[in-house]
Amino acid sequence: MTFVTFIMTQNRPVNINLFKIKLPLSAFLSITHRISGILIFFLVLPFSIVAYYELAKSQSSFDNFMSIYDTYLGIKLGCIFLTLIFQYHIFTGFRHILMDFHIISENLSSSYKSAVVTLALFVLNALLTIWIML
């Protein structure tokens, strides 16, 4: 029996299935950083083109966009949501940069602490953003 057939015939538990792993907080921040990055490219940037086009076309178009923003709650909430995705990527990304340049040392405890601090700062900033944009 070769090694490969030995491995394949054993009914051993395989725990590298990504859907069965419980994520620590720092890993949660890392994967959501990636997801938010994908969302920015495929959602936030295309929508921001439309917004920027309307805002920069003419003065009346600018005023029209602003009145639509104030009238329809759905559009307002959509803009806030897209802004929050963007801010989330910036906040978690800044933590990654600090780790990349060894300003935050790469061990479990400082990784957990920086994750908590990043999330706390993001929530504060999100509340501020919602208060300003509403």
């Binding site: 495929f42 083109i49 805002l55």
Partner: protein
Amino acid sequence: MKSGKLYWYLQRFSALYFISFLVYLEYTFWTTGITFQFLTTNNLFKAALSIFILSACAHAFIGLWTVGTDYLTKRTLGFISTNLSVYADVLRKIYETVFFILGVLIATFYISIIWF
């Protein structure tokens, strides 16, 4: 410099540029306010936004390529289905083509709206 190292630094330093650009935007928002005149006549803003969009696309190409080579592989797709994992390389190429075309479109639209 090896190209991998160049991409790594490009992604990090573009990220630092995004943060400084946002600080500049935030400062303008609180001092003079974002008006139609500011968006269309302020050349510093228009240049900064153009650099922002171009480096955002470069940053996104590197990031999305990383995500693609991490998850659209035979091994990772094999978690979902072994039949699917056979097409991993093809799927990744399609994904890379799609985001490349979308990125070029985004940059083209933005630059033409900003300057023309």
